[in-house]
């Protein structure tokens, strides 16, 4: 509570500092060239000197204060009868914290009631201590900043540098997050592979994590059926739909369509890419899947299941069309017009030119687009969750229900979970495999595209 107030105070101080420094700089300003930087920059420079130390101190204090408070509470005699077990103790402390903030709440555990008062006292004490530190930091920074308001002081350069640092920090954020995700994946997958051998996981063909107990644990974590389902649905069925349709629509749009037609079709295709995947998911589950089941029945299949690889793959293919088409569109557009002119001037027809000159020249770009599309398809989750089914099965029959890596990850991590059981941890191992495969596909595709671009520059 106190800290939130202090945060607002620091921001207010920054505002005051901005006005004060600017006003002072204006007094110094006597005409063009009389100052290195315009008064506004002095204002920003001052504000930064208040905000940066103040906010940094605030962030650090917010980070360490809970530890300090807990330490103080644990030192209290009332804490002596706390259970030794870590999790239980943490629960009681958390409850005490709630009670401290909200005295009228009913205690679930009596022990926490006793701790509420010491908790509140410690919070107030450390809160004021932190507030004092933060304000001192902000005021000290501001005081220093104010002394720098001089005619020759290069406030502009300093502010520009601060902006640069801010932008850099923003871009590093995304990268750091990625690293964080990879690190957590690696860590959790490592825990999983302590229990299950990686070889059994990557080559085994029996997937039944629910039965995995004791000695035969390796035998129930064979992920090959999941890999197969993923590839069959995402890289085979979906691509059989997306590649021809996407490629043909790209050829039509770049080579034949008049600019008016293009103006209508392109945005429409892009809308297709903007439909939430969950909408595709229920379209697959409620519309396409029953049709396919009936069709399978009419082919003479006994008991066709509603969920099928075909339903999920077809709808996923449709979802990917705009992606393939826009990559192929780019690749075709990157082939210089001189190429097709050369061919047309020899008396080739437009379709001969497309088939024999444009497509071969654009092939690397198209292949790269397809790879990106595959990496997208195998990571797709909603459609397979809703339409592909849960049975881990090695089958080439598209009417069979199949499961995928993403589906199993969802299964393992939703609902009641035993934490740290191999079953839960297997989600991370699957995630790691998925991550590595898509990463490789993306790297190769980007390389190919880059080479291809260079070839025409």
């Amino acid at each position: 509570m106190i800290l939130t107030g202090v945060l607002l105070a620091v921001i207010g101080l920054g505002l005051v500092g901005w006005f004060a420094a600017r006003a002072r700089a204006r007094l110094l300003y006597t005409g063009r060239g009389s100052m290195h930087s315009m008064p506004g920059y002095h204002g920003w420079h001052m504000a930064l000197w208040i905000l940066v130390p103040g906010l940094l101190t605030w962030a650090v204090w917010s980070g360490i204060m809970p530890g300090l408070v807990n330490g103080a509470v644990m030192a209290d005699p009332a804490a002596a009868q706390l259970p030794a077990e870590e999790m239980h103790r943490a629960a009681i402390l958390a409850e005490a914290q709630t009670l401290a903030a909200n005295p009228d709440a009913v205690a679930f555990d009596a022990k926490s009631q006793a701790l509420a008062e010491p908790m509140r006292a410690a919070q107030t004490r450390f809160g004021f201590m932190g507030a004092a530190l933060i304000l001192i930091a902000a005021l000290a920074g501001g005081g220093y900043g104010f002394t720098r308001v001089r005619a020759r002081f290069p406030a502009r350069t300093h502010v520009e540098r601060a902006v640069l640092a801010l932008l850099l920090a923003a871009s590093l954020m995304a990268i750091l997050t990625t690293f964080g995700i990879v690190a957590s994946l690696l860590f959790e997958a490592g825990l999983f592979f302590k229990d299950v051998s990686p070889i059994a996981f990557l080559t085994g063909t029996h997937w039944a994590p629910g039965n995995a107990r004791g000695v035969d644990i390796d035998g129930n974590f064979g992920a090959v059926p999941l890999f197969w389902g993923t590839i069959y649905i995402g890289a085979i069925i979906a691509m059989l739909v997306a590649i021809p349709l996407g490629l043909m629509s790209a050829i039509y749009l770049t080579q034949y369509a008049s600019s008016t037609v293009r103006k209508w079709i392109k945005p429409t295709l892009e809308i297709l890419a903007g439909i939430p995947t969950v909408v595709y998911g229920y379209f697959a589950a409620l519309t396409v899947a029953p049709i396919i089941r009936d069709f399978a029945g009419s082919l003479g299949m006994a008991n066709p299941s509603t969920e099928s690889a075909l339903a999920a793959g077809l709808v996923m293919g449709v979802m990917i069309i705009p992606f393939v088409s826009s990559m192929a569109d780019d690749a075709l557009a990157a082939v210089p017009r001189a190429m097709s002119d050369g061919s047309l001037a020899l008396g080739a027809t437009r379709s001969e030119t497309i088939k024999k000159v444009l497509l071969p020249a654009a092939l690397p770009g198209i292949v790269a687009g397809v790879m990106l599309a595959i990496s997208r398809a195998i990571g797709e989750t909603m459609i397979v969750v809703m339409a592909a089914g849960a049975s881990a099965r090695l089958s080439a029959n598209p009417f069979d229900s199949m499961t995928t890596v993403t589906y199993q990850i969802v299964q393992m991590l939703t609902g009641d979970q035993e934490f740290n059981s191999p079953k839960t941890l297997s989600a991370f191992a699957l995630g790691l495999v998925l991550f590595v495969v898509t990463l490789i596909l993306n790297i190769i595709a980007l390389r190919v595209v880059k080479r291809f671009r260079e070839a025409y520059e």
Partner: protein
């Protein structure tokens, strides 16, 4: 020896609403080189492209008037632009070999038009075309190398060989030497001089010297109009029009 190959009568070319060529009439003869000269943007390329209907490939481009090839209207509904372009070949400003082997670059046209019955015939066409283009000795040992791996001058001669391979009657060249150094340029000019025996050749150029060296007739374009057309020697020594004189003496603009 000079018979008329191409006849243009009152030709206008539009890009959308914009008129790029205004009422041009010209006769282009067989067996000689005709040069188109004129300041940038005056419509030389536009007019050249209307002679083999390459303007058809540009959205919004429109040609009116009459253009006859051996007396046959090339814009008549019965005329197939694809067949026309096999008779009226074109070489572009920037060498544009296909990203295929040298062999495949030349074989492309003959294959499309079914000119060779078998591989042996095709090989003959390829050797003849490359020889005519003066490139055979330089590439005969590496026909399977990429056409794009040749030097700029060699690439341009490859493009000429590619055009010759479909046995055209007319060859249109749009500034074929502007991307080349003087030595490669000299080779191409020599080549043009040899080729004119068998084809009607039209060349667009910005170099007065080149026009004077290779052409027998010169047409001077200005702002979409054909200002003057006549024997090259006449145009360069004794132009009738003031504008032509200004242009060739470099006093233009």
């Amino acid at each position: 020896m000079t018979e008329t190959k191409l006849t243009a009568r009152n030709v206008d070319v539009f890009y959308g609403p914009k008129k790029a060529i205004d009422n041009v009439s010209i006769d282009i003869d067989n067996g000689i080189v005709t040069a188109f000269i004129g300041p940038s943007g005056c419509g030389k390329s536009t007019f050249l492209r209307s002679l083999n209907r390459m303007n058809d490939t540009i959205a919004g481009a429109r040609v009116t008037g009459e253009i006859l090839l051996d007396g046959e209207d090339i814009y008549a509904p019965t005329m197939d632009p694809v067949a026309l372009r096999a008779r009226v070949g074109m070489v572009f400003q920037k060498p544009n070999p296909f990203p295929k082997s040298i062999y495949e670059n030349i074989a492309y046209g003959p294959r499309i038009h079914g000119l060779a019955g078998n591989k042996a015939d095709l090989d003959v066409i390829i050797e003849q075309s490359l020889t005519k283009a003066g490139l055979w000795d330089e590439v005969k040992d590496r026909l399977m190398d990429a056409g794009t791996a040749l030097s700029g001058g060699q690439q341009q001669r490859l493009c000429i060989a590619r055009a010759i391979a479909v046995s055209p009657e007319v060859i249109l060249m749009d500034e074929p030497c502007s991307a080349l150094d003087p030595i490669a340029t000299a080779k191409i000019e020599e080549l043009i001089d040899e080729l004119k025996e068998n084809y009607a050749i039209v060349i667009v150029t910005h170099s007065m010297q080149q026009a004077a060296r290779v052409s027998q007739r010169t047409a001077f374009f200005h702002l979409g109009n054909l200002v003057e057309y006549g024997e090259t020697s006449e145009i360069f020594t004794n132009p009738r029009e003031e504008k032509t004189k200004d242009y060739i003496t470099g006093r233009y603009g």
